[in-house]
Subunit: 335 residues, 2 copies
């Protein structure tokens, strides 16, 4: 079995991260990871007529960039595994339409990048594909208007809110060719602590993050300090603090090796309250900052935990709480 | 490699279909497959306050039914792989919330059942899971109001339209324990022939079905008559005819062994124009009619091709055509 414990997959054939690429909007380009992103857009419409089309084009661009970074051709990709936050994940499907590549659509809200990578790595490890491309994207303007209010309304944002990042990221996973391997992954369960405030996603998602972290460490028999970096997706400032506390309550001591992409995405001057959110958040950071530092050997063991809020506007309007999930993926240098 | 040709996965360890269950609405219970469905609801609200909650409960019920049919316990399921047509696949995520099982959300519109089964079979075949549950659901009332018009409006339906089925289906895939194996699958590519009419899904999806059929037969070196049954999901009457013609144009002769679940779902007296649609369509037929006839040995080689229309109301309102996809799965008796 390549399954360890209750939720963790071990990739024995060492599928690797061959290439990656991130495309972000202007605001993200001015943020803390700005110098790592491969493409920073000058205009977040990206030459398109709608924000939805721009989001899809960003995903396409990240795919072509990642293919190029991996030194392969589009036709070498056996499967494109992708998802996003748009209804019916149209950004991914419209992106996939432009490639001549078999496509599997995923949905895990902001956990989608980890989900795509864990499924992609399983396909490579199981010999079902030689090369898989995994991607997600989010766009402030398409996401805000779909999930919250029309942008033109200029609605005041509550202090617990986060700013949906305009970002796309694509990873190329392969049988061989890189010393950065996808070592293992942990599939999350749905966790719902009855948070109903859609402007406090950090509080809703933190319990899912801690459950997956617990399951991962238990399944692998590890402690958090065995990782150079434990990176959550978009818990934001408040969610990260809740995770820190919940972890401690569960006997897991997170230290300086813990970081959240959402919390770190923007500078304080950028006034985003709790920081960034959206599935493009961790996707863009993995495929720029993390990839770059792993290639240099500055990072050798990285635990990625992407969290997702699995609600819709309809489910919230009908009074439901927010079910959440977190999936984890471990990247390792093997030399 | 467990990949054959360009798009086909071959499951060498013979993961099998251990159990299945279908839950359908009253109208579907009166249709052609009525006597095969394990549960036919008397009221399509299923005791809930909303059609969305009813849809999710139908998926839950199909899961519990399939677990029971497979002779296992809920906790034996390593992964729940599911998706649906609701925005952010809330029916699946809310169903998953009620199980203590790791969850992977999928989206392939009405191709989701085949997508879930092909991913689930890969997880079992690759040793990443012992038992996987795959499920989808659709509900006439939740889907129609989300994608088309408020039900109360009583909008006239055009003659090319289909009726979204109220149905859920769940399959339990396992390492061993059944003589019905998941032999292979073919991952589809996105196909778009510029159809923009959301009331003519059959015409939009048929080209995707023929592309996947072609790829599957070519990758496996087979002809259509090697299958007892080739079953598409919800092309409906018109879509099935288009597929028949397109297949012939491509040198593929479909015969009496070809059937479409949507076309067959309702009787002529039920007045659904082109027949049924929705991701629950093929899901409910696989887990009742197909499963039952395979267990009896009346069917031994079945090619399932589920097609999906990957649009959203936003993508259509913005003037886009409908990108479509089809995924195929082969079920075989091994004795």
């Amino acid at each position: 079995m390549n399954k360890i414990g209750k939720q963790t997959l071990l990739y024995k054939n060492k599928p690797c991260l061959l290439g990656g690429y991130a495309v972000v909007g202007p605001k993200e380009g001015q943020g803390n990871f700005g110098k790592y992103f491969q493409t920073v857009l000058k205009d977040d419409l990206f030459g398109e007529n709608s924000y939805e089309a721009a989001e899809s084009k960003m995903m396409q661009t990240s795919f072509y960039g990642a293919v190029d970074d991996a030194g392969i051709r589009n036709v070498d990709v056996d499967v494109f595994v992708a998802g996003d936050l748009m209804n019916q994940i149209v950004s991914s499907s419209f992106a996939a339409r432009s490639f001549d590549v078999p496509y599997l659509g995923m949905f895990g809200a902001c956990s989608t990048m980890a989900e795509s990578m864990l499924v992609g790595a399983a396909l490579v490890d199981g010999g079902f594909a030689r090369i898989v491309a995994c991607a997600t994207a989010s766009h402030f303007s398409s996401v805000e208007k779909q999930f919250r209010y029309p942008l033109e309304l200029g609605t005041q944002r509550p202090p617990t809110s986060q700013w949906t990042v305009t970002a796309a990221g694509c990873s190329i996973l392969s049988e061989h060719g890189s010393n950065i391997i996808v070592e293992s992954s942990t599939i999350g369960k749905v966790v719902d602590w009855d948070v109903k405030d859609v402007n406090n996603m950090g509080a809703a998602m933190a319990p899912a993050a801690v459950e997956t972290l617990k399951a991962h460490l238990s399944d692998m028999g590890r402690s958090p300090d065995e990782y150079d970096l434990i990176l959550t997706g978009d818990l934001g400032k408040l969610g990260s603090e809740i995770l820190f506390d919940l972890a401690e309550y569960n006997g897991i001591k997170l230290g300086n090796n813990y970081c959240d992409c959402g919390q770190m995405m923007y500078t304080n001057e950028q006034k985003t309250f709790m920081g960034g959110s959206g599935c493009g958040c961790i996707a863009s950071v993995i495929n720029s900052y993390v990839l770059s530092r792993m290639r240099k050997g500055e990072l050798r063991n990285v635990l990625l935990i992407a969290t997702g809020a699995l609600m819709s506007t309809t489910s919230s309007q009908q009074g439901n709480s927010i079910p959440c999930i977190a999936h984890a993926v471990v990247l390792k240098r093997r030399d």
